[in-house]
Symmetry: D2
Subunit: 388 residues, 4 copies
């Protein structure tokens, strides 16, 4: 079991200077000291890759001009040298090609969301992952929060009864200003359909909402009625969407997202009202969760409280109650899950995707289906459309 006696070796595609999420992935991977970054193609610009590699103390010989070269060269390295997995942190449009290239080179993949540019690509990626049997992890990072793990257990255990109403929202004001015209890299690709895909805010925020809701409740959305909007001139992708939801279990709800909600920062909030109680959680204040039962005092559950939280929460908790964990810690928990799955694979006893503690390729496909169905619904005048 060699793989358990060492840190895993990570490569990265994307995440050069000027990028945001690449740095997040690197901190998330580093936090728990299970991973070393040893190779990368950080940018389409080789000079950016070179400088980024230097700043990351990476071997210059393993800072590659193209991801294709990286996949080829790394897979030829001896087993005790080559990267165990790659993190894909580029704009959406290239996720598929990059993931495919590494998977075909026998390298496990951690990929940012949305998984691909289109549902078709997502379908193809599912088949590829099935065929290769390699680990594919999708960073729906908010599922890494301990209290979200606890909430999921509350629903899975039946203690919450049947879901009746859900309100899930994700509000930002990131696109209230035409940053793309002012040269901001993050905004530029996000408002460009060629790079972002069919959904704007739907892909950036909507897929997190759907994933979080279904992850916690275990109750799939069966149909949606979506009304999307964009307000700033010269934009074509949605900046905002209001979506009615119907759930398999008979509950209903709303999913509302925006990147033009002035003053909002990263307002992902989930509220689920079920027959036996309710849970309310907000990403910006992730160390507490409201828990309601009819006629009882409201409870505030706090992260780290092994006395009353499920072991599923405890096992992903790093520090005691009152010592706030945040965004990076939850993100790191996704990496821990992926690292564990990769180690098991290296040892010849791989988990199936259904056994993963982290979002998988099917979750990614579901996200793409959601984007495309929401775009369809809205395009037809905000009519009801079924989810598979």
């Amino acid at each position: 079991m060699e793989s358990w006696n060492r840190k895993l070796r990570m490569g990265m595609v994307g995440g050069g200077q000027g990028a945001f999420i690449g740095g997040v992935h690197r901190m998330a991977a580093a936090l728990d000291q299970q991973v070393d970054l040893v190779a990368g193609c950080f940018s389409r610009d080789p000079e950016n890759t070179r400088i980024t590699g230097e700043q990351l103390y990476a071997d210059p010989a393993r800072c590659y001009a193209t991801y294709q070269e990286m996949a080829a060269r790394e897979s030829e390295l001896p087993a005790d040298k080559r990267i165990d997995f790659v993190s894909v942190v580029t704009p959406n449009a290239s996720h598929f090609d990059i993931s495919k290239t590494f998977l075909e080179a026998g390298i496990h993949v951690v990929c940012d969301k949305p998984m691909t540019y289109s549902l078709t690509e997502a379908e193809d990626l599912c088949r590829l992952v099935e065929r290769t049997g390699l680990v594919f992890a999708l960073t729906h990072n908010y599922t890494g929060h301990p209290l979200i793990r606890h909430a999921r257990q509350l629903f899975q255990s039946g203690r919450m009864g049947t879901v009746r109403k859900v309100i899930v929202e994700y509000l930002q004001d990131f696109l209230s200003v035409p940053h793309e015209k002012l040269g901001q890299k993050q905004a530029s690709w996000r408002v460009d359909p060629a790079q972002a895909g069919a959904g704007g805010t739907l892909g950036d925020l909507g897929v997190h909402c759907l994933n979080l809701l279904e992850y916690v409740t275990g109750d799939p959305v069966t149909s949606i009625c979506a009304d999307t909007s964009h307000f700033l001139p010269d934009r074509s992708l949605d900046e905002d969407a209001n979506i009615l939801l119907r759930l398999q279990g008979g509950g209903k709800g709303v999913l509302t997202i925006s990147q033009i909600a002035t003053g909002e920062e990263n307002g992902l909030r989930l509220r689920v009202y079920a027959s036996e109680g309710a849970v309310l959680w907000a990403q910006e204040d992730p160390n507490q969760m409201q828990f309601y039962r009819y006629g009882k005092p409201r409870q505030t559950l706090t992260r780290g409280r092994g006395e009353y939280l499920d072991e599923a929460a405890g096992s992903v908790t790093r520090i005691p109650p009152g010592h706030p964990e945040g965004y990076l810690e939850a993100f790191a928990t996704i990496y821990c899950g992926a690292v564990d799955a990769i180690r098991r694979h290296l040892d010849g006893a791989p988990l199936t995707p259904r056994e993963y503690s982290f979002p998988n390729v099917y979750d990614g496909r579901r996200g793409l289906e959601f984007i495309e169905k929401a775009v369809e619904s809205s395009g037809r005048g905000a009519v009801w459309v079924e989810m598979s």
Copy 2:
């Protein structure tokens, strides 16, 4: 100007023992010491009326067996004795007949919401109010909060720009349990279509949401797509609704209401994101309002702060900042407005309904239109329906 030298004389229909909202109206009317309750028909049960009257120190001779008798007898009293106005606090189905009876007897009316049982009745009441020229006040009490008055001024003054997104919600858990089967009076009539009207939660909570949203923004809802639900057995009226909104000014939003949202008490919350800023307000914490502008520190505006709040807020503020006002104070502000309008009428210089500082008969009609359109939308499968 005799009317300004004395308190006004109020009568009440409804509000007997076991009722809730009648007591609220009485406290609201009493708080500012402008009104004396002197007559009533507090229940269809004369014994209840008698006991209630006694508890309220009302003259037994002016505690009437029927509202018709009350209207007839009071209107025959000399001008310095008879009631100046009546408060109608019965279940919805009787609002119209009672209001009509008093208006036709020349007596001003303050009426609880929703204004009538049906839109047809609401239309009739509009005509009757127009014909009589009497004051008709509808107690959409939440518009009485000082910070809501301030928010309205923010939008009216143009400082907020154009509304882009609204989220208005009103969540309770009042109907999570079959109280109507356990003899609770409040629940019994609210789940009975014969007494409540076409809408359940729509009439109880939805009309407040619509009114508050349009009151603050001045931007009317032009079409809605409503998905209503009920979950408990033997109920036919909606207990919950999720509604997409489109506004005249191009903004969009969601209106979500529930009386089965376990653990929620009286969660009316309004968020409006406009091109120049945002306001967020919650009824359960009404002494503060969040005010956001892009790229600026978030502000918490607090009630009573004459240094920066609009005079429209200051004029309905009773006590200094940090001394919380609540539900009754806002309700009392509606009464203050009605009292002022009635005094002006008595003095021969009546305001028009459009000049009122409180919700009027047209606001009531709008509420009924909303209920019926939402019921229609949902009944047809949650399709888009236009508001007039």
Copy 3:
């Protein structure tokens, strides 16, 4: 039992134009419709009294030039006409003389805090109240909050165990600016030792803290070490104080008050940590109380929840959960208590002060002792001083 068939008749001394607390007393007295204001001496300026009386619809013949005249003339009126009690809402220095005058005229008294100008006066007033047997109510209004009543029951019942640590604070910024030099009436008398007494902030805020703490815990403060300050030029009374506390039961704590705490409005907050749990309550958000037990989820108790709150809270609750009550409602509860005690006295079955549901003359004396001991402690360099 004549007194139960009618409202009580109230007179008022103080509360003319430009005053603050007089209007609060009138709203508090009016809210529950048990009291009519019928007479007053609202100001030392007869013209102010006249105008104020007119605005309050009081009989001009019962708007008196002096309180002495008022006491004399009212006590000569027939029993079914004269005031049942007087509310004393003048600056501190005159509380004693006014209360004395009315008590000696056989008229019950409701008085604002601090009760008197000095401890000597307070002692005299205790004897006078004992001698006359009349009702004397002191408006430590914060004890009227339902959740404070519940908290008191938690301690009285033994469920909280022994108090170990208390933190009580009351922070304002009312005196951050030299309002008294700008003609503001409220500030002018409060910073004038001749009118306010030995304590500035100690008398305005400190006595509320002490009273609330002892009311809730039932555990008396036995010694204090007080360090007072004033910062603005030309002031001599304390604007701020930090005080160490020791309690009879072995617990300790801090009491910290300020009227120069920039940005604070009316920040009265109480936290009590006991061997079996803790309660935390803040006046600015009075409809909820935090309740902690070791190793259990934190609970938020909300006003109105008869399912789990003590009947002592329920009996002073007017409206359902989620419909916020505030400052005036709690103040009104003190009036309800006084009204009840006065009715019982009128009916010949008076309660003893120890049976009152509201603060009495001994609570007032305790406040004055606290002021004088804190001034003594601080004057001697912030040394420990014993409370009786």
Copy 4:
């Protein structure tokens, strides 16, 4: 400038299985990918050290039985191999000896707080650090929060005016239960004077309060009056303390700490009211800070807002607004500062301790002085004692 082309090599003393703070230091050091852990003496028990080293993927040859051996052996390694610095994460009583040993071996030190067992040791350590010229960093981690850095700038820039009142508190319930009798390692040494020093809660929490207060305001505490307590049987160290403060600039305040405050987790909260405004910050919700100015709307400053926060905050911010950072991120910022200082030292251009961005040996001495003065004050009956 070789040192800038590689990660630094860290050793650790303490932090074996069953410890808490060692893991925190390791995550903090790892997060920003500037440090590799390569050596350690994790426990006095060699077997614990061996297992811990294995779990950390450390070279077994560099997992030492004693810290003395570690210092000796590491200092003999070639410059490109040996540890650059050591982290000392043992109980308080051994901090001095370990730090001394490594400093004398020419190795930089990062040390947990309180810095030493006694003020005498602290004085000695100051002289040793001065003599060696090596970097000594003390992990008062809360000073690493971006909003604390911003607050410090607000005071340093003069924008806040003069401090008038401070309230700093740190409340836990960690010692409400006799964990030390139940075998809990953390509690056992903390309640043992031989291991913890003269202060219990004073050393664990009090020094953080003093440090944070002085760090933010720049206004030193000049005298204190401390009343300490302990409640559980068989304990001798303070579990709770209430302390009056006087500041050099004329302000006053309270510092209140507890480890028996039932239901509190890690409640470090700082409030400073100055002549020109106030700041309020709570460690458990570290991504926001309240900022008040007289007569202006309250502002909520949020972490990451480069538009209005000082560069001192921006430079220690990892992720955008709304993506919460927490305890570990702030801790990591202390490490980043230490790493930077060590790199500069390695490059021959060392900073002086006064230029450090992190707490230094003099801050450590100040903490010990505070503990000993507070113990003295309380021991003499809670009298005033001067700080140097």
